[in-house]
């Protein structure tokens, strides 16, 4: 049964629940600290009934707001344009011509999965880009709408090609899509990806979580075990040492579990499918992402490696496409746990070049150590002060010095690996210390270039190079100024003499 999208219609009826629950969770996430006082038993005893009444009122208000938002959200399709009217108190009318649509994404977060609906996203390019999010459609409606919005573009392209070639061909109304699965990530591979990923973010999350609830943990333990934390540090050094060791082990274990868990949730059941000339990538457990990689939209192709990944013979690939906002890691399309063979296939079809490529390289100078070490030095001093206040003099000297040693080693490695490579068609930006990060940009996709030199660099003939693309910018620091000048002149020439567009 074909749905008629030319009459203004609302989202799927279950959208009321979807919108309400999604808005509710967003509010709770934004204001979660409001709930923390409830952990204190004193507040619970005295104010519980008031708190409950307020919460129920807020819930009702949110329900009313979401219901109105659902009622007012109406969209339709007419004469190759997509129309949407939305709002609760103020109304916004959006009107997008089909040829401004860059991408259609169909996603499914946990709520949408439970209610058996999908979300449809319309992406456009340009300065004031509109991003339409329809939160609840049946999967059939979503696929149909996607086809309508994209079909006309494909038809137009085919028609104009036929006109150019001046041929009489019986026009095909629907192009048969060639589907073939490039690769599918099984659970075992996914675990390998998790084990070989960057633990720093996981550690940060664990530390943050522990520090927020630390106060409440102290209260909890002092009530149960009658330990007085104040006296423990100074008098019972053995218990303190055991406590510190136990705590560190707990932190490490928690970081390990959190990092692997996050990876599993983020990239569960990763599938890369080749659809005609583009690639469709889907992944995710709670939030299912479905994105299309279009060769023309690709701006940066990033390859991530590290020693553990090399042991497992996998790499991570992140693809950034043109966007009107700065790209965070979330907006990059992740193709993780990819084998070398599949990496070569993906690279070749996006760039029409084999992988790996040869480059002329310009290396960052060791003078960069000054800049990096200043930051780490300040950080170690702060950490030293922190440990001094918390634990005591002995630890506060050893720990920061150890950290300083580690940071020095990391900085040295980072500078060794930092370079930019240039050849006829590509730019390679190499960075990272233990994790190696290689970013590939086609030379004709550069938007603008900048050279930055601080006062010292102006004296010692060095400079930082910044390359801007439609998906953000890349820094390569402390290069030789004369070599930078050569590269800049060359890249400028490439951009200005190329017939190819950046999108």
């Amino acid at each position: 049964m074909k749905t008629d999208f030319s009459i203004p219609r609302r989202q799927n009826f279950r959208g009321i629940l979807v919108v309400f629950l999604m808005d509710l969770f967003k509010r709770i996430k934004q204001n979660v600290y409001v709930f923390l006082p409830l952990l204190s038993s004193e507040i619970r005893e005295n104010y519980l009934d008031i708190v409950l009444i307020v919460l129920v009122l807020l819930l009702l208000l949110q329900l009313l707001y979401s219901y109105k938002s659902y009622l007012n959200f109406k969209f339709h399709v007419h004469e190759e344009r997509f129309f949407l009217r939305q709002g609760v108190l103020n109304f916004t009318d959006t009107d997008i011509p089909f040829d401004r649509i860059q991408n259609i994404n169909i996603n499914q977060n946990l709520i949408q999965q439970l209610l058996n609906v999908v979300g449809l996203e319309i992406e456009t390019a340009g300065q004031k880009s509109a991003e339409i999010k329809i939160k609840a459609l049946s999967r059939e409606d979503a696929l149909e709408l996607k086809e309508i919005l994209l079909k006309n573009r494909v038809e137009k392209q085919i028609n104009s090609q036929i006109e150019e070639q001046d041929e009489n061909e019986s026009s095909k109304t629907e192009t048969n899509k060639k589907l073939s699965i490039l690769f599918n990530l099984d659970f075992f591979q996914l675990l390998k990806v998790g084990i070989s990923s960057n633990y720093i973010k996981g550690l940060g999350l664990v530390l943050f979580f522990v520090s927020t609830i630390f106060q409440y943990l102290q209260e909890f333990f002092s009530n149960f075990y009658e330990i007085n934390f104040e006296n423990t540090y100074l008098s019972q050094s053995y218990e303190t040492f055991a406590f510190v060791v136990g705590f560190t082990i707990f932190l490490l274990a928690a970081t390990f579990i959190v990092t692997i868990g996050r990876t599993v949730f983020q990239y569960y059941d990763l599938k890369v499918t080749k659809v005609d000339k583009d690639y469709e990538v889907e992944y995710g457990l709670l939030k299912r992402i479905n994105q299309v990689i279009k060769k023309s939209k690709v701006q940066v192709f990033e390859v991530e490696e590290n020693p553990i990944k090399n042991l497992f013979k996998i790499k991570n690939v992140f693809i950034s496409q043109a966007s009107s906002q700065e790209l965070q890691n979330k907006k990059k399309i992740g193709v993780v746990g990819i084998s070398d063979e599949n990496l070569n296939i993906l690279f070749k079809s996006l760039f029409d070049l084999s992988y790996p490529q040869q480059f002329i390289n310009i290396q960052s100078s060791m003078r960069l150590m000054f800049r990096l070490m200043i930051k780490y030095f300040v950080l170690c001093i702060l950490i030293g002060l922190g440990t001094f206040l918390w634990i005591g003099l002995s630890y506060s000297l050893i720990f920061p010095l150890l950290l300083l040693g580690v940071f020095t080693f990391i900085s040295y490695k980072a500078i060794q690996k930092s370079h930019i490579g240039v050849n006829e068609n590509l730019i390679e930006i190499h960075s990272g210390a233990i994790h190696t990060n290689k970013k590939y940009i086609a030379t004709h996709k550069v938007q603008s270039i900048a050279i930055k030199r601080n006062w010292f660099q102006q004296q010692n003939n060095h400079a930082d190079l910044i390359i801007y693309t439609a998906s953000g910018f890349e820094h390569i620091n402390y290069l030789n100024y004369d070599e930078v000048v050569e590269v800049v002149n060359y890249l400028n020439f490439k951009v200005e003499s190329s017939e190819m567009g950046w999108i």
Binding site: A125, G126, Q127, A322, E326, Q358, F359, I360, V422, N423, E424, V446, Q447, S448, I449, A450, I451, K452, R453, N454, W455, Q458, I466, Y468, T469, A470, G472, F473, V485, E486, V488, N489, Y490, N492, F493, V495, E496, W502, I503
Partner: protein, 172 residues
């Protein structure tokens, strides 16, 4: 000359951006910068005086505060005075260049092909001095866009016309 293996990137004949004659921005802009600087110095001094008489903070703290602020403000005036002669823009056949800064010197090059749109604007302060700001937007991140401040009307219009003319030619 950059070369590797069999291939050679022949860059000898390429246009060289570092040899471009740069045009300075309007001298009146230096007056604007000095005026704004003087304004803030006056405000700061009055705050410090009021602080001394109303709150009477301890002497070492007060002198430390004064020295830190003096240091910062001296850096700012050095940046203004020494940095202003470095503010130059250059118009070439296929791109536009702009450079500025003393402590941190930044040169940006934007090919005409990559310009999305051009904007000429004027703040209240600039209006008093008859100066304009020319903003050139690309599809890249906003820190890669050009913002040339302190142009007089003639130059601003000239550059904008030049860009539109060349962009038109490119589109055809």
């Amino acid at each position: 000359m950059l070369d590797f293996q069999n291939n050679t990137l022949n860059i000898d004949d390429l246009p060289r951006f570092e040899t471009v004659e740069g045009h300075p921005v309007a001298p009146a802009y230096l007056r604007v910068l000095r005026t704004i600087y003087a304004f803030w110095v006056v405000i700061l001094i009055s705050i410090l005086v009021v602080l001394k008489f109303k709150a009477n903070p301890p002497a070492p703290f007060y002198y430390a505060l004064i020295s830190v602020l003096t240091f910062i403000f001296s850096l700012i005036i050095i940046e203004i005075e020494k940095g202003f002669p470095k503010r130059k823009f250059g118009i070439r056949e296929k791109d536009i260049l702009f450079q500025k800064g003393f402590f941190i010197f930044k040169e940006t090059i934007v090919p005409y092909k990559r310009i999305q749109h051009v904007e000429i604007s004027q703040t209240l302060v600039f209006k008093a001095f008859k100066l304009f700001t020319l903003k050139i937007y690309t599809a890249g991140s906003s820190s890669g866009d050009l913002s040339i401040k302190g142009l007089n009307q003639a130059n601003a219009d000239k550059i904008k016309a030049q860009i539109l003319k060349v962009a038109d030619i490119d589109e055809n």
